[in-house]
Symmetry: D3
Subunit: 257 residues, 6 copies
Amino acid sequence: MSTVWMNQLSWLDYQSRIQQDQPPILLPVGALEQHGPHLPLGTDGLLSASVAADAAARVGGLVAPTLSYGYKSQPKCGGGQHFCGTTSVDAATLIGSVRDAVREFARHGVTKLVVVNGHYENQWFLIEGIDLGLRDAGPGTQLEVMRLEYWDFMTPDTLADVFPQGFPGFALEHAAVLETSMMLHYHPSLVRLDLIPDDGPADFPPYDMYPTRTDWVPASGVLSSAKGSSAEKGRLLAQEVAVRIAQAIENGFSPAK
Amino acid sequence: MSTVWMNQLSWLDYQSRIQQDQPPILLPVGALEQHGPHLPLGTDGLLSASVAADAAARVGGLVAPTLSYGYKSQPKCGGGQHFCGTTSVDAATLIGSVRDAVREFARHGVTKLVVVNGHYENQWFLIEGIDLGLRDAGPGTQLEVMRLEYWDFMTPDTLADVFPQGFPGFALEHAAVLETSMMLHYHPSLVRLDLIPDDGPADFPPYDMYPTRTDWVPASGVLSSAKGSSAEKGRLLAQEVAVRIAQAIENGFSPAK
Amino acid sequence: MSTVWMNQLSWLDYQSRIQQDQPPILLPVGALEQHGPHLPLGTDGLLSASVAADAAARVGGLVAPTLSYGYKSQPKCGGGQHFCGTTSVDAATLIGSVRDAVREFARHGVTKLVVVNGHYENQWFLIEGIDLGLRDAGPGTQLEVMRLEYWDFMTPDTLADVFPQGFPGFALEHAAVLETSMMLHYHPSLVRLDLIPDDGPADFPPYDMYPTRTDWVPASGVLSSAKGSSAEKGRLLAQEVAVRIAQAIENGFSPAK
Amino acid sequence: MSTVWMNQLSWLDYQSRIQQDQPPILLPVGALEQHGPHLPLGTDGLLSASVAADAAARVGGLVAPTLSYGYKSQPKCGGGQHFCGTTSVDAATLIGSVRDAVREFARHGVTKLVVVNGHYENQWFLIEGIDLGLRDAGPGTQLEVMRLEYWDFMTPDTLADVFPQGFPGFALEHAAVLETSMMLHYHPSLVRLDLIPDDGPADFPPYDMYPTRTDWVPASGVLSSAKGSSAEKGRLLAQEVAVRIAQAIENGFSPAK
Amino acid sequence: MSTVWMNQLSWLDYQSRIQQDQPPILLPVGALEQHGPHLPLGTDGLLSASVAADAAARVGGLVAPTLSYGYKSQPKCGGGQHFCGTTSVDAATLIGSVRDAVREFARHGVTKLVVVNGHYENQWFLIEGIDLGLRDAGPGTQLEVMRLEYWDFMTPDTLADVFPQGFPGFALEHAAVLETSMMLHYHPSLVRLDLIPDDGPADFPPYDMYPTRTDWVPASGVLSSAKGSSAEKGRLLAQEVAVRIAQAIENGFSPAK
Amino acid sequence: MSTVWMNQLSWLDYQSRIQQDQPPILLPVGALEQHGPHLPLGTDGLLSASVAADAAARVGGLVAPTLSYGYKSQPKCGGGQHFCGTTSVDAATLIGSVRDAVREFARHGVTKLVVVNGHYENQWFLIEGIDLGLRDAGPGTQLEVMRLEYWDFMTPDTLADVFPQGFPGFALEHAAVLETSMMLHYHPSLVRLDLIPDDGPADFPPYDMYPTRTDWVPASGVLSSAKGSSAEKGRLLAQEVAVRIAQAIENGFSPAK
């Protein structure tokens, strides 16, 4: 029974794993959000789950079912909520989903939970969910929670390889080279390279406006071009991310007591 | 672009589908819950998604990402919350998840949403989520929501075939013949026929006790035996359910205005 | 001081009872909901309180004030929310009412609380309220909570007597023979036998639709006919229910520690 | 069908009343709270319901089921939460109960709702519930809500009669002469005159302390003596209150549009 | 470092104060609410902070940042929500603000927290916030909370001096002599004596109406005249209030353990 | 009446301003959070209010009272919640505070609201509060909301002047050169230059851990050194920020309709 997917294990197999090895549990969090004409709506969930699975394989971990719906898309990072297909949750829902998961894994006796985020907008609601879940679990809990955005594990060296003309920064990397390359690596059949738009990088003022200004965002939903994406770049990125998340998991938690 | 999985479509493809065909959107809801030694923790989500996909294929519908975490397991229908691996959400979280989904699909212009439930305990929180989501959407919304438990689409005739010695009723059908047969049909590699326990049917008093009595439930977590399950029975059930849900979708919604 | 009604006791009398006898506290939960032309809006609360009082009298228990407003009526069990007079609460309100009651009775030192439900739609929100109330009370609480629907205490033998032509099942028993007979037993002056409609049993598809389809439900609000109701049948049912709930209370709780 | 109790009407009778006469609906709100050795725990709910019924009889109104559980008791007005038997709700629960009621009565087409409060601590949570309920109902609603504490309808003249040695003010009138006299009028069998304690009036500092100081409150729970109570005084007070609330209802709402 | 304002201290200075002297922390709560043509919108927050600072100076206490937004204004005490400029919060927000503050000060090791209220409508939501905050902090907390309205510390003698023709009671004292005099004492430049309206005292019926009746309230927003206000009266009141709150703080808390 | 502080205006003055000029309303949001040994706990609120006032003065705007309590401090941006003095709110409280403010300003007829954030951790909860407030206000509202972190208005040129050896990025700028310089400009008496610690820049891994690792953060709470701060640098930064926020306000809102 060598799967990394928790939902494919029977409860007895899961229980032995928890009791014997204290495997880290990885919880991917994504979104259902427009990713331009060339990537699917589920990109963030697919990538966070794939990354989690690769890292889990390296550390003997298990991957819990993905939280597939993310916090409301914002113009500067995901295009905004006006796109058809973007299907998001309010803060309270995402906070509750994570809070409940933390409380439940603590009850199972899990000691290492890794929340693997693939949607920029989720970050702070994950933090609140973890904080409240640990508050529920109480001061005596053995559970520690690691929280991360997977792209933060890409090194400058690799980014330099991927962007020979200079890495433009994570800010506009929505449906752009990083995500497209990783999708080409993990889910090539879901990428339509022929449909990558030519939109130059979006240029945003240093403030937000609500109701959001739909004219700030290219009609395609892409914030900077995905031209130059390749499966090979994706493989490079995915491998580095998995290796380094695995290292973080091995080094980041407290030693067993 | 013939997939039924919404998360594999780009937003532009999704948008054309919505604008042209008004496809029904099917939202599977499951649970992460012990299902005995022979079935995986994710059974409810896997089955509701499979059933939804089969029905969607028949009516040109799309399947949204599964809500993989269900309401807290109860002794009489899922064994209870004391099992390691059962990972559940509070009522408010499940209600919020459905409420937000309803509000978002209404914004997309979807007119037909089908909530396909695969975990008995979810039912009433789905109802509340739908009610509040429609309240949010306001009286002018075009969205109608169908809500169903997939097993209610099995006919007495088919149940008589599946249970030649008489159908014992849905009450104890947790990790028993129906679910096991359908898993053998849809996900045979995840079923361990050799581990099916011999536990006779559980016998419950006509009341609940809280904190739940763990000694009411067999240690295996199985409420009645799965002996007699087969992929062929699963095929029969799955086919009937898909056909009849498809019919319900075709007949149950109001004609387009 | 032989009353069963908690609200008629002074706090000092109540306190001595709690400290000396550890009486079970019964909390009836009802609804304010259409019950056809022949039964009053308060039927569910009146019956659950009457049943609770009869059971309490047998076990030396006390009956707390009824929660008189229930969860939103659904077409298949109570006709639906479109009827004038049906006055319901959202899930959060009912959950909160029960949660607070559980926390307060735990503070009093009560060890046995029995939630007596008389409105089908309430069930799962009572479960959540009890679960959260016990979470608030903490792991050290002495309080145990029994939860029941009173009709589940009717035996097949008695139902065979009440329905000489065969018991059609609880599904459509809204404002039908069981409730009407019990109201004739407990509150005959509130029943208008002359107004019992002739509506045949309602026939529902195996799914729900929202906004609810008002044309699925007879205009009278009655889901199957109450013809054949009698006070004598009501007496039989009421007596059996009270006796058997009393037995459950005597046997179902843990022995005093 | 001359009852004032809404829960005793069938929905059809209720509906005709609403459509023909636009009767005011009175919603009593009480508490389950210690009221000294001589009055029952349910005093506040019993009195608010009785007052509501008397007023309703005068104006052709209907009385909805009492909200029997009130906001947490405070030392200066109800003795505090440390008494056994006092069974209270959190703010959110009481707010939700009233909010839902307001939204439902608005849906029925009710135009006049009167919230009759009998527990001092409830006041501000009723205000919030009404405000949120009307927000839910939306700007187009025809519903107006009157909110009152029944004792505010006692005139100085009557209070002078009831307290020949001077009215000490409402502040300490918990389980004292006003409530005891009104209980002697409405529910004499529930009053134990022989158990009225001699506690002089409680003397509180001009601030509150939390956790509450139980030694601020007499052990009996009575804040000032009920000596001098009589059924005749109760009759006088009850009559005045009913007459004047009835006048308020007749004059206070906007004329029908 | 002699400031009373907590937000002007570094955390290290604050920490030494807490560890060495256990200073009381005073939390002022105000409102942003119309106060007639002659007083500013921020009157309630300005006065509660000034009073808190004066009291803090006498007892070596610290004043935390003011909660500047109060509960929704009511016609009888603040004129109502229909005035432009009145900017209020829902109950849940105010409750949450206080709850969080209580939980945080308990974490700091504070043992004496004084909630100084300057807006009548806030009172009960402060109570709920304190109660829930202490529930969060748990039974082991060392924190005690004092809660007060500052005007309750004015003595009859002083009120007799301030109102030579008799004190009309606190009921209508919104933007009237007490608040105006205290503002003349603390913030004379923010008072426009020339704009004090002549409105006689408002006369309210013994009930509330919702939606609120704007014609119950003078167009100026002043419930009784501020004529006769003076800085000298303000000084007298402010001094008495500060002295007596300081005494309450010194005597009202439990001795250090 | 030339003040920019809304709470110093009478409601009539405020109302005329709203009706005549449609001034932008600036809402500063801060925190009460450790800022090392040399800066006060209230730094974030003091700076956001000062910046808002300077910008308001340039555009004829008004500054609403500061929300002085911010979201829970995180190790990487504010040191974390383990510092004594850091006094934070849960997500729901901050969301509610902003939501209510948005709804109220919409009711006033305000068309331009500017949320000026001075605490990094607040950002996403402000977004949710604005989104829910606008949802409450409804699609017909005239209100637009601008949201900003003030430091995003510093230009590379100015940062190059302030950091002659290269700008290390905003990431560690907690209680460091930018904030210290601006405090020296706005509130010099609250800065203790002599206490600036020598802590080198903190070095964080690319993930978070919960419970937070207190040993990741220097004991002083300072994430990178404030050496090199000066009032002159503060003046430069403050001026640029004010000028550029003023420009954003003048250009960023829709023209009056």
